[in-house]
């Protein structure tokens, strides 16, 4: 069953034209109209309008619009065809337009435990990995900020350097290390700590190691930024007022580095939630994460509508709340920055 070919200018489909027009205006937030009016009246300069319009239009076309397409397809049905989904709008034989909205895909997400388990699992694994990153990254950032001035830049470079090599290959390296007869098991057996190789690969542990390893630089860098910007005289003042170094760390350094802690945690948590490569290469059948579910739905099951529904749900359930939280954090960070000044 092939979809009817619809040329763009065909008057046969006026409804979809107005729908797109409405969505277009909604996307632009009426700003485009206002700009054009401003240009006509000479209140907005053409140069500025052009500078704004080029990236704006690019992002609307290739970032905003695609989401509307995803939204649309998430309401259609999978069929074996090219493309493999049914159109929402069809023409019945007597010239009446039919809009078929299909909620089946979203119902599936709720009913099938696979999907919401994958959501919960993604959040849980990303959260544990974020805490682990923090536990390793905070002392590292602290140590770098306390290192001799001429050592700090090389130490930071060494943190960033792995980022410039291929991400995929760095994840791949852990396969060789964590395999049953891999490097880590061999070392542990050689040390006499274990007799039998441990099953390390294809477990949640290996996924966590992979995430911590890949995202550690994103934790260390913002933490270093806040720690190195901190006024050394605050710690001197605390010592002068009778505060021992350990306590000064807890009462002064730690609270003042919270903006860095939150920024770093966000930089690790957000991409980790949607991660595909790490759970795919290092995880096993029990480490379901939502990115991998979407991938499988799309590439293996060829079910584009369900994959779209998973994407929409992920967007609404994960990305939007995270962004909201981050916005709120940024506001309070700004306040904290003012405080620190």
């Amino acid at each position: 069953m092939m979809p009817p070919p619809v040329p763009p200018s065909a008057p046969a489909n006026p409804a979809s034209f107005t729908v797109i027009g409405m969505l277009w205006r909604w996307l632009l937030g009426f700003t485009f109209v206002a700009r054009v009016r401003g240009l006509a009246m000479g209140t907005v300069s053409w140069g500025r309008a052009l500078v704004t319009a080029v990236p704006f239009l690019w992002l609307i076309l290739f970032f905003g619009l695609p989401f509307l397409v995803v939204l649309k397809i998430s309401f259609s049905q999978a069929v074996i065809a090219q493309p493999p989904y049914t159109p929402l709008l069809t023409w019945a034989e007597d010239g009446i337009m039919v809009l078929r909205i299909n909620f089946q895909n979203y119902l599936l997400l709720v009913q099938d435990s696979l999907y919401w388990m994958a959501y919960l699992n993604s959040v849980r694994i990303a959260a544990i990995a974020t805490v682990a990153c923090l536990l390793l990254g905070y002392p590292m950032a602290y140590a770098i900020s306390k290192a001799k001035a001429e050592l700090r830049v090389p130490l930071l470079m060494l943190i960033i350097l792995p980022f410039w090599t291929s991400f995929l290959i760095r994840v791949y390296a852990w396969i060789g290390i964590l395999k049953t007869n891999g490097l880590l098991n061999n070392v542990l057996i050689w040390l006499g700590l274990i007799d039998q190789p441990l099953p390390l690969l294809h477990t949640e542990f290996s996924v966590l190691v992979g995430i911590v390893y890949s995202y550690l630089p994103f934790m260390v860098l913002p933490l270093y930024a806040t720690l190195s910007r901190m006024d050394e005289s605050l710690l001197e003042a605390a010592a002068d007022l009778g505060c021992r170094p350990g306590k000064a760390f807890l009462t002064i350094t730690l609270p003042l580095s919270m903006p860095g802690v939150i920024a770093g945690s966000m930089l690790v948590f957000i991409p980790a939630v949607g991660e595909f490569v790490i759970p795919d290469l290092l995880g096993g059948p029990n480490t379901l994460m939502i990115g991998k579910v979407l991938w499988t739905e799309f590439f293996s099951n060829k079910d584009w509508p369900v994959a779209s529904a998973v994407a929409v749900a992920t967007l609404l359930l994960l990305v939007v709340p995270i962004v909201r939280f981050q916005k709120a954090q940024e506001e309070s960070n700004k306040k904290a920055e003012e405080l620190a000044r």
Partner: protein
């Protein structure tokens, strides 16, 4: 007390750097292994490098990836400069919130969603207007441009807002038109950010597996896609050899950059 403190800080750093570098070092070491079994050492050999250099699939994928990366890096520096300029200089205008959201959203969006949505749009567009006829280098480049522009914008915007605006105002005062001011004054001042943004976009593009997998078509495989399909089948010494080559290139590039920066620093101090 103080000695204990510096000892514990030192051990944390030692552990952290070991964690970061042991995997990379193990890749390099086993790339010289005679045996196909990556974990069993069977003597020194460079045969995997020979095989890698005869692997046409990997070589053509690498060539495609490099072309896309260069196109993407250059394009996203242009788009990112425009967007950075809008955010850093144009102040409040109607639609600024929408603009900011669109610019920063790719930073928090899972790759699978970006990839899926772009592919679905390309398919829809093809149905409507017959473009893009074939998915491959063009679609991958467009997809990469879309998400790397966000990163480049952040880099350029932060440099622009740190920059002293009064030098731009001085140029305007001396009679230069805004566009001229941008190319003659602003661009040279933010040049380091432009270079950093270019390199960042280049790496992001070279590194991307997920989005490229969605938007590419049959016959157009980037390097990460080839590596991924090979890695899925298990460890392969050829990938180790490839990793070693990449690490070498990156290290050399960073050493050169470090050397140049060191020399400039010296010149500045002597001046």
């Amino acid at each position: 007390m103080r000695r204990w403190r510096s000892f514990s800080l030192f051990s944390v750093l030692a552990f952290g750097y070991a964690f970061l570098y042991v995997p990379i070092l193990s890749l390099i070491v086993y790339s010289f292994n005679e045996s196909r079994l990556v974990t069993v050492w069977a003597g020194f050999s460079t045969k995997w490098y020979g095989e890698l250099l005869q692997n046409d699939q990997i070589l053509s994928a690498a060539w495609l990836s490099l072309k896309i990366a260069v196109l993407n890096a250059s394009g996203s520096v242009v788009l990112g400069s425009l967007a950075g300029l809008v955010l850093a200089r144009f102040g409040r205008f109607r639609g600024r919130t929408a603009f900011t959201t669109l610019i920063t959203a790719p930073l928090v969006m899972p790759e699978v969603i970006i990839g899926l949505s772009l592919l679905l749009m390309f398919v829809t567009l093809q149905n409507f207007i017959g473009w893009p006829g074939e998915r491959g280098m063009t679609t991958i480049t467009i997809a990469h441009l879309t998400f790397s522009t966000a990163y480049v914008t952040v880099v350029i915007q932060s440099r622009l807002s740190q920059m002293d605006v009064s030098i731009e105002e001085a140029a305007l005062d001396l009679g230069a038109k805004p566009a001229k001011v941008f190319f003659v004054i602003t661009v040279p001042v933010i040049a380091p950010a432009l270079v950093a943004g270019w390199l960042l976009a280049f790496t992001l593009s070279l590194d991307d597996l997920v989005i490229a997998s969605f938007v590419s078509g049959p016959g157009a495989s980037t390097l990460p896609m080839v590596v991924y399909s090979s890695v899925r089948l298990g460890v392969s010494p050829q990938i180790n050899a490839l990793a070693t080559i990449i690490v070498c290139i990156v290290t050399v590039a960073i050493l050169i950059a470090g050397f140049i920066m060191h020399r400039q620093e010296k010149q500045r101090r002597n001046a």
